[in-house]
Structures are given as structure tokens and as C-alpha cells.
Amino acid sequence: MRLEANNLTKAYHTQEVVNIEKVTFGSAGLEGLIGPNGAGKSTLMGLLTRRITPSSGTMKLHIEDKTHPLNPFHSHQVARIGLIKTNQRIQGFDSLTIRDSLRLAATPARAEGFKSLFSGQRDSEEVEEKVARLVEAFPFADRNGYAMSGGEKKLLDILRCLIAEPKLLLMDEPTAGLPEDITRSVMDMVREKVQAGAMRVVVVEHDLPLIWEYCEYVHFLSEGSILFEGAPEEVKANRVVAEKYMGV
């Protein structure tokens, strides 16, 4: 699996917020993407999932011997080939319960056509089981109701992505707004799936200890460009990273 971007740029008006010559994600199981506020991390993830249109450059996803050029895709097509991202800012479906939200994400689009009006049971046992497993694994205040707090919404956003079973998952600041223990169990669950070979993951985080603990490879983004890449130890020891980010 390889998600590759070449000469990728994104400018808002005249301000260039992403300008990357070349970057590759997905070679390792769990990768980190770090960088100061405003470095362009979220923008890069938005570009890769085609939620944001690039100003120039190409993006490709190599997956199971197939190469998908991402530029001509719409965001739903990107998701369908297995590239999904969680959101930094809280997003959700206000009129769907926690379970319905997860069922929605677990249901492939082909099962949601007009024919679904006449199928006796709305969701298959398989979907129900997956949903139940996730809902019970986390301390939602009302498991049969709606996500209430910001934390629950944030968690639900991540779980929606997990239940959709992506091949490559981009996580934009999964810890922001979540209590420490929940973050841990989410990340453990993610790592477990990665180790089982079910998916690969890129995590954007400001929580560096978490990055060092979980990631095998780390990319450092600053002012829109990748300035350094390497194993966690190398990144930790790198002067540029230290200067630009850790304020040493």
C-alpha cells in the first residue's frame, strides 16, 4: 500500500499552505505526521481524501497491485477504494443515533439503493454485530441514544471510520477533545487492526509521546513542506524538527 503525492500544492488566494515535492504514506503500518499549528497537516489530509481540491500536483493510491490516480476522484470514490479520514473538527449526523451513525458507516453504498426500501430487515446481523461490538467497547453515556458531549462526537467520528474498514486510515488529531484513557483504547484498537494487517494508518498529532509510542515512521511538516522523515528516534534527534517545532 502506498499513498503518494507529487509536487502537491494548495494555495488559498495567494497564500500557499501546502507545497510538497514528494511524500509517501502507507509504507509502514502506523505512521505519524507532525508539525506546528498551521503547518498544513489537515489541509494535506483533506487534499489526499479529495475533500479539498489541489492547486496543482498529483496524488495516487497504490493498493493491491492497482494504482488509482486520485485527482479525478470525488471524495466518495476515494472512500470506496479504502482511503478514509477522521476529522479534526467535530463532525456528525445530528439526527442519527450513535448506533445508526455506525450502521450507516458500516453499510456499503451498493446496499443503499432504492431496493433497500423493500428489504425486510434494515441491517444485516453482521452489521449489527460490528456496531454492537464497538458501542459496547466504549463508555457512551447513552448507548442507544445520541452522542452528547464533544468527546462522544469525536469518538463516534473515529469509530465511524473504523467500522467502514478502510485500507488506509488518516486520523486528524484523534486525541483532541478525548480523555486520555479513551485515546489509549482507541489507539490500541487501531494498532491491533494494523498488526492484524487489516489496514494502515497515518496519525496527525500534537501529542508527541503518543506518536513516539505508536508510530513506526514519522513525517515532519512545516510551513506546507515535508522537512524531515524517519523513524521516531531520528525525528526526535533531528535539529530542524527541534528548532521548528519543539522550540528548543
Binding site: 481524501t49 475533500r51 470525488h74 471524495s75 466518495h76 472512500a79 470506496r80 478514509i84 479520514k85 476529522n87 463532525q91 456528525g92 449526523f93 445530528d94 439526527s95 442519527l96 445508526d100 451513525s101 450502521r103 450507516l104 458507516a105 453499510t107 456499503p108 453504498a109 446496499a111 443503499e112 439503493g113 432504492f114 433497500s116 426500501l117 423493500f118 428489504s119 425486510g120 430487515q121 434494515r122 441491517d123 446481523e125 449489527e128 454485530e129 454492537a132 461490538r133 458501542v135 459496547e136 467497547a137 466504549f138 465511524r160 471510520c161 467502514a164 483504547s185 490500541d188 484498537m189 491491533e192 487492526k193 498488526q195 492484524a196
Partner: protein, 312 residues
């Protein structure tokens, strides 16, 4: 009696339209302000095919609804991915274009002089209007049933997700644009069918019937009844059209000289009702209903809680 049958038939058309609008706006979040346009395509399409081209009534209705579907699809392609205001303006403009064309294309539509006569099917039976009312009743019941099915289905859930957060739904792999387009096209086609079925009710078609007041009446009814409730359309039409146009206009002992004021009084009441509802019950009389889904076996928690802890 005939007048009552006519009124009830008309009310059924309103209920059907409001029900379709419930799908479009209540479920999918598409603000269609061109209801009368799609209904009008069905009405005049049927009229023109029947009167000018000699097509039998039922095929004429079917063809006119297909035309409404096709036009709605094209309109959807053009504007549905834009914001709500743009959709509102575009659909309103569409309805205006339809009514303008009906006035200007005199050769086809008869222009302001009108187009007629469109007869009921089974025109040699005495009870033809009653039979037709029953046909309308069947169509409207089917619409209500289908929209309940839709609410409880996976597609309906996707529509609600699109209404709530389209970008998020797309990022989960839902082709939101196509879903909206098809739902819009089909429901507009059904509005066209109701238009076609209105043709024999009116018998004689005049452009005045295409005024936006139909759109507004349907919207008011839906908002009063509850846009997010499957039965909101029925309740809404009962408290507006049913109450005023049928009960009061027909049965209230209003002296003749005051009778001309009735329509204004009606609009006044609609306005007051609407303001009250928006202030005190913004979701409408019935509120919002939840999908009724056969509760699937709640999987016992035992195998669930350890799933996250297990290490691969």
C-alpha cells in the same frame, strides 16, 4: 355531492404533494420551491397530449410524469450540489418558466384561453368522479406507504445523513450527489403524476392554475403538520385545506356578501397558524418521527467488551 368529491380529490392531490415534499425536504433536505412547476408539467403535459395529440388519458399521464422526472433530473444536475438558497431560487424560477411557457406557447397550451376538455377515465360511468377519487386515494396511500418504507430503510438513513452533513456522508463513501439527484427526480416525477391526475379534476386548464400559491399551500401544510414526520403532510393539509377550503367554504353559513372575503381570511389564518407553529412548535404539529425498524437481536455484551482488549 359532486362538489364534495371534487374537494376531497383536490385535497388528496395536496396531501400527495406535501408527502413528496416531505421526502424531498423533510428527509433529504432539498428545499423545492417549484412544486407547482413539476405538478404543472404533469397537468399541462397530460392536457396537451390528451387534447392536442389524442393520447389516451392514462398513457398521457405516464408520459407527462416521465417528462417531469427528466426535467427534474436535468435541474438537479444543474443546481442540487449548490447551497439551499440557490436550490430554492432555481426551483422557484423553474416553476415560473413553466407557467410563462404555458401562457406563451398558445398553439400547444391554448394560452390564457385555456385547454380542454379533459374527461375522467371511465367517462361513460355515472360514478366516474367517485372512481377517480378512489384512484387518487390509492395513489396517495401508496405514496404515504412508500415514504414510510423509505424512512425505515437504509436509503432513508442515507438521506438523513446527507441532510445533516453531506460532506461527511460523502467522505464515508456515499455518492450523495447521485442519491439526491435520483430521489429528487423521482419525487418530482410523482408530483408530475399528481399534476396529470389533476387534469381531469379541473377538466379545463388555465395558466392561473400554475400560480405559486400551490407551492406555498403545500409548504405551509407540510411545515404546520411536521416536515420530519411521515404523517405531517396529512395533518397539515387537513388543518389548512381541509379546514378552510372544504369545511368553512362549503358548510359555514357565511352570508354571500362576506363570502368574497373568505380567501383573505383564510390566508390570514394560515399566517397566524404558521407564526404560532414556528414560535411554539418549530418541528410542526406532529414533530419528527423515528425510523421504525424491527429491533434486531441486541447482541449480548459478553463477546463485546473484550473485543477491544484482545491483542492480535
Amino acid at each position: 355531492m359532486d362538489y364534495l368529491i371534487f374537494s376531497v380529490s383536490l385535497m388528496l392531490v395536496y396531501i400527495g404533494l406535501a408527502q413528496l415534499l416531505h421526502i424531498q425536504f423533510g428527509l433529504a433536505g432539498i428545499p423545492n420551491f417549484g412544486v407547482v412547476g413539476f405538478w404543472g408539467i404533469g397537468l399541462y403535459g397530460t392536457g396537451v397530449l390528451y387534447v392536442k395529440a389524442g393520447v389516451p388519458l392514462l398513457p398521457a399521464m405516464a408520459m407527462a410524469s416521465l417528462l417531469a422526472t427528466a426535467l427534474a433530473y436535468v435541474l438537479a444536475r444543474l443546481v442540487l450540489q449548490r447551497n439551499g438558497q440557490a436550490i430554492l431560487a432555481a426551483t422557484l424560477a423553474f416553476a415560473t418558466i413553466v407557467s410563462t411557457l404555458v401562457v406563451s406557447e398558445k398553439d400547444l397550451t391554448g394560452g390564457v384561453q385555456g385547454l380542454g376538455t379533459i374527461r375522467f377515465p371511465f367517462s361513460d360511468l355515472e360514478q366516474r368522479n367517485l372512481i377517480f377519487m378512489i384512484m387518487l386515494l390509492i395513489v396517495v396511500c401508496a405514496l404515504i406507504w412508500i415514504s414510510a418504507k423509505l424512512r425505515d430503510s437504509r436509503l432513508g438513513r442515507q438521506l438523513v445523513a446527507i441532510r445533516d452533513n453531506e460532506e461527511l456522508a460523502a467522505s464515508l463513501g456515499k455518492n450523495t450527489a447521485a442519491t439526491k439527484r435520483w430521489v429528487f427526480a423521482i419525487t418530482c416525477g410523482l408530483m408530475g403524476l399528481l399534476g396529470g391526475m389533476s387534469a381531469p379534476l379541473h377538466q379545463f386548464l388555465v395558466p392561473y392554475q400554475l400560480s405559486p400559491s400551490l407551492t406555498f399551500a403545500v409548504w405551509i401544510a407540510l411545515v404546520l403538520g411536521g416536515k420530519g414526520h411521515n404523517l405531517g403532510a396529512i395533518v397539515g393539509v387537513f388543518v389548512t385545506f381541509g379546514l378552510f377550503d372544504i369545511l368553512i367554504e362549503t358548510y359555514a353559513p357565511v352570508p354571500a356578501e362576506q363570502a368574497i372575503l373568505l380567501p383573505n381570511f383564510k390566508l390570514f389564518c394560515y399566517g397566524v397558524l404558521l407564526v404560532m407553529i414556528i414560535m411554539f412548535r418549530p418541528l410542526g404539529i406532529l414533530g419528527v418521527d423515528k425510523p421504525k425498524v424491527r429491533s434486531s437481536t441486541t447482541t449480548p455484551p459478553r463477546e463485546l467488551s473484550n473485543a477491544s482488549v484482545e491483542k492480535g
